[in-house]
């Protein structure tokens, strides 16, 4: 029997990669463990090892092919005693079908974007971001499709060019170009004194960062994930957030703590927590949690310039997603200002960060049944832009909040309290706050999915508050 060799995943979040090199050719025999090819993602390069033994009957995906989807057939292996040419032709039909799909899909994608939703059944539609709530963008500005990862890197590079006091430190930020490749290229451009690999101690380098900030530098401290920053929380909360106050205004900590926050995929209880509500509780901190690449860039640049300590919460799953970013010399957004993602009349959904992915999909689904959602991306957790939320609720009379964090004392419950206090008379239904389940994040894929919010929950909540259920 012939065996299909599939494009492997280097990590649970990898969706596609480049098949950079074949180390075996058709007709070569391989044994389990032989390195047969090299693949690349934006995160790493990895060798593909043969899992079974046999003869390479057919190479389906030629080397140099980009955007090869995980689990696509990349070669056909004839097992011992089998005729390699038969195996190759036997696998042909399916292999060719998949190969052509692989080859064409990436080409079609940008075209599909330009023409609207030509193939919307297959390719998830790009979220359309209305720009009216960000009046800073001059009309006619060119929009460039950019990943959140690139946007964050560009923001740091631009600020480091602009201000020699800005530097970044953290684990693996320099030589390895960042555990999630957010600092790609920074070591080359700025050198080891401004892109600093630290020993493995968040408690240590957060403290060093606070000290450096107090000496007048502007550190960006990257946490490999915010889960690891739990041991640094004393420096963040008790030192960075409070020193300006306690020192009678003499000295504070102009510092940015940034890194991925919340659940990624298959990283379990200790590494899947959302800290929006935790840090949102603390006076002296500003807490930013962007969803789009444009917001990631504009708000990170603002965070680096801000004289206060900033918690900048990113998300691993969003890193690879692309959004339009305006091509401007200096694109800075205001911290503390929500963005109306889409105007609507029937119901207000407030979300932020990765929570927006559920809200956007629910919004599209609800449009299909005639419910017009006004979707607000909070962008900043503290200071919170309540006026924008309240203005919207005054118009729609209904509110649903969406986030991935735990339900008790969540960002959503904070919004619900304030709206109840300040817009009670405008509410036509009880507010629904959607959050993760009240359990530590399990590892197994089926349990993880169940523990997180989902699109259906958002749809059902909107139907409930609009009495369409």
């Amino acid at each position: 029997m012939s065996v299909e060799i599939l494009m492997p995943a280097l990590s649970p979040t990898m969706e596609e990669g480049t098949l950079s090199k074949w180390l075996k050719k058709e007709g070569d025999t391989v044994t389990a463990g032989d390195v047969i090819a090299e693949i690349e993602t934006d995160k790493a390069t990895m060798e593909v090892e043969a899992v079974d033994e046999g003869t390479i009957a057919k190479i389906v995906v030629p080397e140099g092919t980009e955007n090869v989807k995980v689990n696509a057939v990349i070669a056909i292996l004839a097992e011992e005693g089998e005729d390699a040419s038969a195996a190759a032709s036997g696998g042909d039909q399916k292999a060719e079908a998949e190969a052509s799909a692989e080859a064409e899909a990436p080409k079609e994608e940008p075209k599909g974007e330009a023409e609207g939703s030509k193939d919307s059944g297959k390719v998830p539609a790009q979220p359309k971001v209305e720009a009216q709530s960000d009046p800073d963008i001059p009309e006619g500005t060119e929009m460039v499709s950019t990943t959140v990862r690139e946007a964050l890197r560009d923001a740091m590079a631009e600020e480091m060019r602009r201000d020699k006091d800005v530097f970044i430190m953290g684990e693996e930020v320099a030589e390895y170009q960042g555990a999630y490749k957010i600092t790609q290229g920074l070591l080359d451009e700025f050198g080891a004194k401004r892109v600093v690999d630290t020993p493995i101690t968040e408690h240590g380098f957060a403290g060093v960062g606070v000290g450096a900030a107090m000496s007048g530098l502007k550190p960006i401290v990257e946490f490999m994930t915010f889960n690891f920053a739990m041991q640094a929380i004393d420096h963040i909360v008790n030192s960075a957030a409070k020193t300006l106050y306690m020192a009678g205004g003499q000295m504070g900590a102009p510092i940015v703590f940034r890194g991925p926050n919340g659940a990624a995929a298959r990283v379990g209880a200790q590494h899947s927590q959302c800290y929006a509500a935790w840090y949102g509780h603390i006076p002296g901190l500003k807490v930013v949690m962007p969803y789009t690449a444009a917001d990631a860039k504009g708000l990170l640049k603002a965070a680096i310039r801000d004289p206060n300590p900033i918690i900048f919460l990113e998300n691993e799953i969003l890193y690879g997603q692309s959004f339009d970013v305006p091509k401007m010399d200096d694109f800075v957004l205001p911290i503390g200002k929500a963005r109306i993602h889409k105007k609507g009349t029937d119901v207000t959904i407030v979300s932020f960060g990765i929570g927006m992915t559920y809200a956007v999909k629910a919004m599209d689904e609800l449009a299909g049944i005639g419910i017009d959602v006004e979707l607000i991306d909070l962008r900043t957790i503290r200071p919170m832009d309540l006026p924008t939320v309240i203005e919207s609720v005054k118009k729609t009379g209904r509110l649903v909040t969406v986030e991935e964090g735990f339900p008790q004392s969540s960002v959503g419950t904070e919004i619900a309290t304030r709206v109840m206090q300040q817009a009670f008379d405008y509410l036509d239904a009880p507010i629904i706050t959607i959050a993760g389940k009240d359990v530590p994040m399990p590892y197994a894929a089926n349990l993880e999915k169940l523990a997180l919010p989902n699109v259906q929950e958002v749809v059902d909540a909107v139907k409930a508050v609009t009495y369409k259920a």
Partner: protein, 414 residues
């Protein structure tokens, strides 16, 4: 900024650099390797001040000819040596299959032990039932050598319906109270100080059980490491504190965590701890030193700090690509060799083993690993077959399930 008024000019920040990067010739000439058998073996009740030099040497038993030499030799019987070889071979075969299983998508993540098998396999044999290890993610040899069923390890890795941890924990983050294996934490270093706490509690209760803490070279930078030394030293806790120095903390070379102190073992000297360095690729030396340290703890003589000098031959994990930061041929240049081959050669020299028997043993070991894998896969893998129960997701958050979780479970329809 202007220089200071002392006239010495501007200050300069020192950033340690590894001597070799990808493309360069590997060079371990800075790792000073003493001859096997040359380091003294002090009595276990030695005054730590008299053995400070042991923190800067390397205790070795197996010499180049495969003979066991010197005062640390002789801690194991012939049968125990053969068992030790089989344990290491089993761990290596287990790793090979699970590494492949990850590439096949049967699990999302795996971490292998290649080159470091002797450390955990030999250490386990120096401990007794009831003792507790607080391991990192690269000491599965403690389970293999302790007879924990491989199929249970695989069920955990696959997060399937038979997963002893019910789908809640990351692959390879095993937990077995019965086998003296504390739940592995994904957060680096926390287990090191917890081991000291466990050991202090054992002493408070006037129990006879001891603890062992484990940490990697990179994580010694964590506060938990330093706090562990403070408490172990102050309260003379019955604990063995193990540092596995495999040269690399993912991409960060050990100089970043070690700084200018010369060795990791030397970190213990300021705390007055007996601090030993041992050849981590020498099964006999690891066992002899572990036995010495365990006896100290058991006899109420206090804690011991041990640095195992070894080399991480494989990638840090299945998400890592070492060619980005170290020379590809570096592991071949590593001067302490391969732990499996070294013990195999020793057994051959002693007339207890042969190349043929080794080949046969390799096949037997692989058969038993494959049999366990088949059984585990019959219970499911990450993406197919049996899954952990969704009802279970709401269990174990508290000892007794509170009403709001019961309600949430009902709402989730499971």
């Amino acid at each position: 900024m202007a220089g200071s008024s002392t006239g010495n000019g501007p200050l300069q920040l020192h950033v340690p650099e590894p001597s070799v990067r990808p493309g360069d010739q590997p060079d371990f000439s800075s790792v000073k390797i003493p001859q096997a058998g040359t380091v003294e073996r002090p009595p276990v009740d030695v005054d730590p001040r008299d053995i400070r030099d042991l923190a800067f040497s390397i205790i070795r038993v197996l010499n180049r000819k495969g003979e066991a030499v010197g005062p640390w030799a002789g801690s194991l019987t012939d049968e125990e040596l053969r068992d030790g070889l089989r344990d290491m071979m089993t761990l290596r075969a287990f790793d090979a299959r699970m590494q492949t299983a990850q590439r096949q998508g049967k699990t999302s993540f795996y971490m292998q032990h290649m080159g470091e098998e002797a450390v955990s396999c030999a250490f386990r044999k120096a401990m007794e039932p009831g003792d507790m290890n607080f391991p990192t993610y690269r000491q599965a040899g403690l389970l293999i050598a302790g007879g924990y069923p491989m199929v249970d390890m695989m069920n955990q890795i696959y997060s399937n319906e038979a997963d002893p941890l019910k789908g809640r924990q990351l692959p390879i983050m095993y937990s077995s109270k019965e086998h003296g294996f504390f739940s592995i934490s994904g957060n680096l270093g926390t287990q090191f100080i917890q081991a000291v706490g466990w050991a202090m509690a054992s002493a408070i209760k006037r129990d006879t059980r001891i603890a062992a803490g484990w940490i990697g070279d990179g994580s010694t930078a964590e506060s938990d490491f330093h706090a562990a030394l403070v408490f172990a030293s102050t309260y003379q806790a019955p604990v063995v504190l193990n540092i596995v120095n495999n040269q690399w903390a993912i991409s960060t070379f050990q100089g970043i965590a070690r700084g200018g102190s010369g060795t990791f073992a030397a970190r213990g000297l300021g705390f007055g701890l007996p601090s030993l360095r041992v050849d981590g690729n020498d099964y006999l030396a690891v066992h002899a030193v572990a036995k010495w340290a365990v006896e100290r703890a058991r006899r109420n003589l206090g804690p011991t700090l041990v640095e195992y000098v070894t080399y991480r031959v494989g990638a840090h994990s299945t998400s890592d690509d070492p060619s980005a930061y170290r020379a590809k041929t570096e592991s071949d240049a590593w001067p302490l060799g391969d732990p499996v081959i070294r013990l195999k050669n020793h057994l051959i020299v002693k007339g207890l083993w042969s190349d043929e028997r080794h080949k046969q043993a390799e096949a037997e070991v692989m058969d038993s690993v494959i049999a366990a894998q088949k059984e585990a896969e019959s219970h499911g893998t990450l993406h197919s077959g049996g899954k952990p129960s969704t009802r279970d997701m709401f269990e174990g958050v508290y000892e007794t399930m509170p009403p709001h979780l019961r309600r949430q479970r009902q709402e989730a329809g499971v």
